[in-house]
């Protein structure tokens, strides 16, 4: 051990540290400064940035002893005497805080920049932050926040955030309000799972299969158990209850017993006094495998004689969609285009790796702390594996550092529960980035065969689409994802004759499951490319052909559902078209000073269901309580993954109960204290849980109104609840006083409401599969370098129909983030696997967009209200990230004449195509 002395945030500190210790770990563990986050431990993501003598460093790879004698600044040191630093305030005001996990790193990197350069250009900001990732915001708000902070530090007035035009706000709903959790997130006070420490806590590690397919012959853990410092080593024999877990199908072993089906399969788990000992113990576990043939392609997996991933065969689900008379539709067509398309496996790359802590309470119940998208599903699966009733398990949701669908499945929840019960001590399981990458379900790679027929005027007559989705080793949500991919495969268009066959197929790849867009991101690429090709063949304007066929009120979808309302697609198309006119550039153009580059626009549209649909009951329960101090609390188990649900629920409660927004607290995701809000998936929380919160708040208001009516001697109907007061003409009584009076009268001021969304029908019945759809249109401007094949997206014009903007600031951020994520899907992102073995086993091998990729974004909001949605709102989480990819690839076609058929755009391939064009 060595003595470390340094100054942290102006305070002299010292500690004994291991000579090989790193600054990030010492800050977090020795000094308890958990505001500094660790995202990758390989100096790739930049979120661990702190300042050492004023210089930004990646503290995850900075030896702690190098900071001996130095001045270290962390995010905790920025606010002085309770006053936020201008950067912190600007990040809040511009909505540059979403999940918040990268926020400390972004702010510290920006601080170093502003310390050295008080007036940075946008380019300076992009240069300074090019190594600091954010997965939620898309960086646009980050750039604005830094510019604003710079202005404030120069003594200039603050720059207001740029907001989209939206409907006239109500008292609270529709206002661009800061997130309730933003202050905690910019000061470093916000706690994510790994920031929790319990006395006597052990650290856990998981032995992963490391091979994609094998029969387990023998597992010997005796040497690992004998290692000093090890408290428990568990295998499948130690799972008392259900040996498998799964969200829809119970096919995923808690710990593998007969076979391993992918590299990331869990075979054994260890709890030890330190993480290092736990990892050392893993190396002492002997597992004898009999390797089995590997199948890594969904089409090959369906061939007779293909290696079987599961006993019942490799077909997880065949999904069939049929409308009209396909053959007649093609016979009627004047032109038919056919094409094959392929999307890549992609990774959520949430910046917070999975972490869970298990703990046994004095009365023998098990508590699991975890950042999960579906707390009640966790509870069900943990209880099943432990073989105990569900009420013996409590899931306590912590803050979540990004999810995007990647934190719906079980990660370490069951394992820490098992280890906590085995050891009687709290156990923390934190995945390393390399482990997170090879373990958790990805976005499905999908192969498409598309055939589209149309009349000469552009009217679609028929579509035949086949899809093969690689769902990997376990079902996860593969069935549902590929169902959504199939039902959305003909695009947001009225097509009279459709036949779609979709196969969700098991392979020995890393499982695929939910990922923002839920299959529709993939389908949109295929169908929007095909339609672009059709427009080109017919010499029709690509915008016109989409407008001609767009779903509108009265249209019948490919599943037979009638669109009755809230179909803003035509308005989205019109808004983008209008902006394109204002741009004033031709569809394809060159610039004199860069002869090797060509510029072009591309266009695409999309739609996405809100809610689970397909006949699944879609419910959410919310409890609302009013307090005598005038505050209210909203409680539900629904995940805040950065999208802004806390703000939405606070706004709705404040609106309906007439209390100030700041007085509406939100408590999420504690299965003992909050009712079930259902999964945070399918863009459903604003609609479903938002409605539950609205209705619960209205009922509570009615209950309080009866009390207030007595106090004010006024009729109930004439009372107004606003700003923390209940008013009748000139007289008023404070909201808290009404609550106090209710209590005196023995009236409870807490109630809950179980909201059930409109019923949907299963696929194949022809009824309403979904209760609402969101729509979007986007145009992308790209630049292609004809000499190198390099393609960049410079600008996106977007219009999104969300029904109603509950919070325009949060909405804007979510849309920008979705666009940049989908830009990555088009141009940079691929989770690469070779025969079931991930090449992408560290962050350096996964290229997600950095701030350098951020295009200029012009974002319009369309508010075609959904009658049943809260204030007209419908889903927004996914829709913005769907049309960006085909808009970009269609632009590449317009620029070069090369049709992109495989994602992401391979510049090597594009260059070969360009050269072949020139030569041939």
């Amino acid at each position: 051990m060595a003595q470390l002395e340094l100054t942290i945030n102006g305070e002299r500190r010292s500690a004994e540290v291991h000579p090989g210790a790193f600054l990030a770990d010492v800050l977090r563990e020795t000094f308890g400064l958990t505001g500094t986050k660790i995202g990758c431990n390989e100096a790739e993501c930049g979120i661990c940035t702190v300042l050492v003598n004023g210089m930004p460093v990646n503290s995850c790879i900075y030896p702690a002893l190098k900071a001996h004698g130095a001045h270290v600044e962390t995010v905790e040191g920025l606010a002085r005497n309770g006053v936020l630093h201008p950067l912190q305030q600007a990040f809040i005001d511009h909505g540059a805080v979403q999940c918040g996990f990268c926020t400390p790193g972004l702010i510290m990197t920006a601080k170093a920049l502003l310390d050295a350069n008080p007036n940075p250009s946008e380019d300076d900001i992009k240069h300074a932050l090019k190594d600091t990732y954010c997965r939620c915001t898309g960086y646009v708000s980050v750039i604005h926040a830094i510019q604003d902070a710079a202005a404030r530090l120069r003594g200039e007035p603050p720059v207001p955030p740029s907001l989209p035009q939206t409907k006239t706000p109500l008292r609270v709903v529709g206002q661009p309000l800061p997130r309730p959790d933003a202050v905690a997130k910019v000061t470093g006070a916000a706690r994510y799972t790994d920031d929790y420490v319990f006395p006597n806590m052990l650290h856990a590690a998981t032995l992963r299969a490391g091979i994609p397919h094998a029969r387990i012959r023998r597992i010997d853990v005796s040497k690992a158990r004998a290692l000093p410092g090890v408290h428990a080593v568990l295998t499948h024999e130690d799972v008392p209850g259900s040996k498998n877990h799964g969200l829809v199908y119970n096919d995923w072993p808690v710990l593998c017993y007969d076979k391993v089906r992918y590299v990331g399969d869990a075979v054994a788990i260890v709890a030890a006094e330190t993480r290092e000992i736990a990892e050392q113990a893993l190396r002492l576990i002997e597992v004898e495998y009999e390797p089995l043939p590997v199948v890594d392609d969904p089409v090959a997996a369906l061939q007779p004689g293909a290696p079987k991933v599961h006993e019942q065969g490799n077909l997880l689900k065949h999904i069939h969609v049929e409308k009209g008379d396909l053959e007649a539709g093609f016979a009627e067509a004047d032109v038919i285009v056919e094409g094959e398309y392929q999307t890549a496996t992609t990774e959520h790359a949430f910046l917070e790796p999975e972490c869970a802590i298990g703990r046994v309470t004095d009365d023998g119940r098990v508590e699991v702390y975890v950042g999960s998208q579906i707390p009640y599903a966790d509870r069900r699966q943990v209880a099943a594996a432990l073989g105990v009733p569900e009420d013996r398990v409590r899931i306590i949701g912590t803050l979540i550092g990004g999810g995007f669908g990647g934190k719906e499945d079980i990660a370490g929840q069951i394992h820490v529960a098992l280890l906590a019960r085995a050891t009687g001590q709290p156990v923390k399981m934190l995945y390393r980035r390399s482990e997170s990458l090879i373990f958790h379900p990805k976005r499905h790679a999908v192969r498409f065969k598309v055939k589209v027929g149309a009349k000469r005027n552009g009217r679609f007559t028929a579509m035949r689409i086949e899809l093969w989705g690689d769902t990997g080793a376990y079902a996860s949500l593969g069935d549902k994802v590929m169902t959504r991919a199939a039902t959305h495969a003909s695009g947001p268009y009225e097509v009279p004759n459709v036949r779609i066959d979709c196969y969700a197929v098991y392979t020995n790849n890393v499982p695929a499951g939910a990922f923002r867009g839920f299959g529709v991101t993939q389908s949109a690429f295929a169908i929007e490319s095909a339609i672009d090709e059709l427009a080109q063949r017919l010499r029709l304007d690509p915008i016109h052909i989409r407008r001609l066929n767009a779903l509108r009120v009265g249209s019948v979808t490919n599943t037979g559902a009638v669109i009755r309302e809230s179909a803003g697609l035509l308005e989205c198309i019109a808004r983008v078209e209008e902006s394109l006119k204002q741009e004033g550039t031709p569809w394809v153009f060159r610039k004199a000073d860069v002869p090797n580059k060509v510029y072009a626009w591309g266009f695409a549209t999309a739609y996405k269901n809100t809610g689970l649909g397909g006949g699944a009951p879609d419910r959410s329960e919310v409890e609302v309580e009013a307090f005598t101090d005038g505050s209210v609390e909203v409680r539900t188990s629904a995940a805040e993954i950065g999208q802004g649900l806390v703000g939405v629920l606070a706004s709705i409660a404040a609106e309906e109960l007439g209390v100030p927004y700041e007085r509406a607290r939100v408590l999420l995701s504690d299965t003992d204290l909050t009712p079930d809000g259902g999964p945070t998936t399918a863009s459903r929380q604003t609609y479903v849980t938002g409605n539950a919160a609205r209705l619960a708040s209205i009922q509570l208001r009615q209950r309080l109104a009866a009390v207030a009516a007595e106090m004010l001697d006024a009729p109930v109907e004439s009372l107004r609840f606003a700003d923390g007061w209940v008013r009748h003409h000139g007289r008023a009584v404070a909201f808290g006083e009404v609550v106090a009076q209710a209590h005196r009268e023995g009236i409870r001021t807490r109630l809950s409401h179980l909201y059930e969304a409109p019923k949907t029908q299963p696929l194949g019945t022809g009824g309403d599969m979904h209760f609402a759809f969101s729509y979007a249109a986007q145009a992308a401007l790209v630049e292609v370098d004809l000499e190198t094949g390099e393609a960049r997206c410079l600008k996106i014009i977007s219009a999104t129909d969300v029904g109603r903007a509950i919070n325009p600031l949060a909405l804007q951020g979510q849309i920008e983030g979705g666009i940049v994520m989908c830009l990555g899907n088009a141009l940079t992102e691929e989770f690469i696997q070779e025969k079931g073995v991930p090449f992408t086993n560290r962050f350096a091998r996964y290229k997600m967009p950095s701030i350098r990729h951020t295009p200029q974004i012009i974002s319009h909001i369309v508010e075609d209200a959904a009658a049943e949605g809260p204030y007209g709102a419908k889903g927004v989480g996914e829709i913005s990230s769907i049309p960006t990819t085909p808009a970009i690839t269609n632009a590449i076609y317009a620029a070069t004449g090369v049709r992109v058929r495989k994602l992401p755009v391979d510049q090597d391939w594009l260059l070969r195509q360009l050269r072949a064009q020139r030569e041939g």
Binding site: N58, L827, R852, L911
Partner: protein, 295 residues
């Protein structure tokens, strides 16, 4: 991650003594942006990590137009590009040090580290070779100098022997009519490893190319100096056709592999494209750079 002991060295003598004594068990730590990550992932092993950032000779950064530039092996990138005189005199080097990583990396990463990691794709290397950099190496037996193009033996392998320490780089002063540039191509725009890097330096006087050096990265097991490309230019006026000839020579000299980041065919093509672009940029700078007073 494997446990190691950390030693902060204060002098060249101390560092070389430790390196000589510990042999292959020891690794030098400079900025740590490569080494720490490699150790953590088990791609390298080290029992003793010798921090060389505290050695004065490795932190020197001096420039004058008579003797040229000396850059200590442990000088971080940002110190180089923050020095306006150096940035103006060695524009190819300037290009490279601003490309490496983001600011947090540039604040730590050093030329010594980039060179000793000896990745064929190291960004600073083709630029340094184009600028005629010489590596100064110390050991308990004394000092020796090696032109940088002779420093590499293969991916991750250099001429450094047990007990040897890279102390600094010497770059000659830029002659009159000097210009240089470094360009790289990465497959996904940003934050990636070069699939081709090209450093080019030109000396043009009275309209005639007096000297030309072209070095390539990521297209062979080691960074490559391509004298054949320079030969196409030297003694002739710079023209579109000599530039194309040099670019073709660069393409012919490249011995790239195909991997997930790029095919050999594309890499060869990009060698020609980048050589052409780098030469054009170097030529433009040769005409616009302020010329040294003694010329």
């Amino acid at each position: 991650m494997q446990a190691f002991s950390y030693v902060l060295a204060h002098s060249v003598a101390e560092a070389t003594a430790i390196l000589a004594q510990e042999g292959s068990r020891a690794r030098c730590l400079s900025g740590g942006t490569d080494l720490i990550v490699q150790l953590r992932e088990g791609r390298r092993r080290a029992d003793v990590v010798v921090d060389v950032k505290g050695i004065p000779e490795l932190n020197q950064l001096s420039f004058d137009s008579q003797h040229g530039l000396i850059i200590g092996a442990a000088v971080p990138c940002y110190r180089i590009y923050n020095d306006a005189r150096i940035a103006a005199a060695y524009p190819g080097l300037m290009d490279a040090v601003t490309l490496i990583g983001g600011v947090a990396i540039q604040g730590r990463a050093t030329l010594g580290g980039n060179v000793c990691t000896a990745s064929p794709a190291g960004d600073s290397i083709p630029a340094l070779i184009a600028h005629r950099a010489v590596a100064v190496i110390a050991s308990p037996r004394g000092e020796r100098e090696v032109p940088l193009e002779q420093f590499f033996e293969g991916p991750g392998k250099t001429v450094l022997q047990t007990g040897e320490l890279l102390v600094c780089f010497k770059l000659p002063p830029p002659p009159a009519g000097f210009g240089a540039a470094y360009l790289r191509f990465t497959p996904r725009n940003e934050m990636d490893i070069a699939v081709v890097g090209c450093g080019a330096a030109l000396v043009i006087r009275d309209g005639v190319v007096q000297d030309a050096r072209i070095a390539l990265g990521a297209v062979a097991p080691t960074p490559l100096l391509v004298p054949e490309a320079g030969a196409e230019l030297i003694g002739k006026p710079l023209s579109e056709s000599t530039i194309v000839a040099a670019a073709e020579a660069a393409r012919a000299a490249a011995r790239p592999i195909s991997d997930l980041r790029g095919s050999a065919e594309q890499r060869r093509h990009l060698c020609a494209v980048l050589t052409r672009q780098a030469l054009a940029q170097a030529a433009a700078r040769a005409q616009s750079l302020p010329q040294p007073a003694h010329a």
